[in-house]
């Protein structure tokens, strides 16, 4: 099967437009694995499928009227087609082929949009924090009585001690990057020289450790949260 790189991709689609054909899953697989005009037609329909879906997929992120939208769609479409062709053998037919394609496109698009949004907001925050003090913590309640505050502070200190004792340095780092710096998972994973999946498992382990430790100390998450929400 002839390979498709980004250069030949652009040339190919520049000279071809389509009237989309409705295909079964089997037809998609067969046509994309074939050669000649059949494959060309399938690739064109694949491109159209992706391009038609992206405005709806990204409607909460980027308006299709935004000048940044067309280049993003082009980049995501290219990348999606390459990834679909590369992973064709992994399609198991548990959903419609087009649904499978859309999810690949969405993963690529949102990864890029999150990275861009984080980088833009990181620069903004650097400027803002110079002028504005950090907001008060969630549990800062100046109306609370001294006794309630003391009880709340004791419990916070106890929970913090548990966190310090249970979390590994890597888990703490992941928590700071994701929870405090609001870094996208892909970027945090890259910074920590791992991948998104492993990062999720790292934090899952952290949550399990904390949950078990709280249980050992006779505390449930609700116990902790309710003390601080009480007036």
């Amino acid at each position: 099967m002839p390979t498709l790189n980004k250069t030949s991709f652009k040339l190919f689609f520049f000279y071809n437009t389509s009237i989309m054909t409705t295909r079964t899953n089997e037809a998609w697989l067969s046509d994309l694995r074939s050669s000649g005009l059949t494959r060309e037609a399938a690739l064109i329909d694949l491109r159209d499928t992706i391009e038609k879906g992206l405005p709806y997929a990204l409607s909460r992120w980027l308006s299709s009227d935004n000048p940044l939208f067309p280049p993003l769609v082009e980049e995501v479409t290219q990348e999606t087609i390459l990834r679909v062709l590369d992973q064709l053998d992994t399609f198991e037919g548990r959903s419609m082929f087009t649904t499978w394609v859309h999810k690949i496109a969405i993963r690529i698009a949102l990864t890029e949009l999150r990275r861009k949004r984080w980088r833009d907001s990181s620069l903004d925050e650097l400027e803002e924090n110079e002028d504005n003090p950090a907001p008060a913590g969630l549990f800062a309640d100046h109306r609370a009585s001294p006794e309630t505050s003391a009880e709340r502070n004791d419990l916070i200190a106890r929970v913090r001690r548990i966190i310090d004792e249970e979390l590994t340095p890597k888990q703490r780092e992941a928590l700071v990057l994701l929870g405090l710096q609001d870094m996208p998972m892909e970027d945090a994973a890259r910074k920590m020289k791992t991948n998104r999946n492993a990062l999720y498992k790292l934090l899952h382990d952290a949550r399990l450790r904390l949950k078990r430790r709280l249980e050992q100390e006779g505390l449930s998450p609700q116990d902790v949260l309710s003390v601080f929400e009480s007036k």
Binding site: R60, R94, I106, R114, V159, N197, Y200, K201
Partner: protein
């Protein structure tokens, strides 16, 4: 230099930089997440493998959360995967409406 001073210098040499304290809001967020933490959870790759199936099951009106509980649980925990799922639902629901 006396022994106490020497001992203190020795300790200071090996003392780690104090870690930044986690803000209250992050501690609260972490504790809240424990309410929906399960022994068995699927990670992002497994979620991604099954999200198309999960979405179509929901579109058909079936109880995807009951049929695929690990996927449902992951949606509650992982904000980014939840965003991807909602985007996919948007596409599928639009396709259904147009047809």
């Amino acid at each position: 230099m006396n022994l106490n001073t020497l001992t203190q210098k020795f300790r200071n040499f090996f003392r780690r930089e104090p870690e930044m304290q986690l803000p209250d809001s992050l501690v609260a967020q972490l504790v809240k997440s424990l309410e929906i933490t399960h022994e068995e959870e699927c990670a992002c790759d497994e979620f991604h493998d099954l999200i198309d199936q999960y979405a179509e099951t929901n579109i058909r009106g079936e109880d995807a959360a009951r049929l695929m509980p690990l996927i449902k649980d992951h949606l509650e925990i992982c904000h980014e995967c939840c965003e991807e799922y909602e985007a996919l639902l948007n596409v599928l629901q639009t396709a259904v409406e147009k047809n």
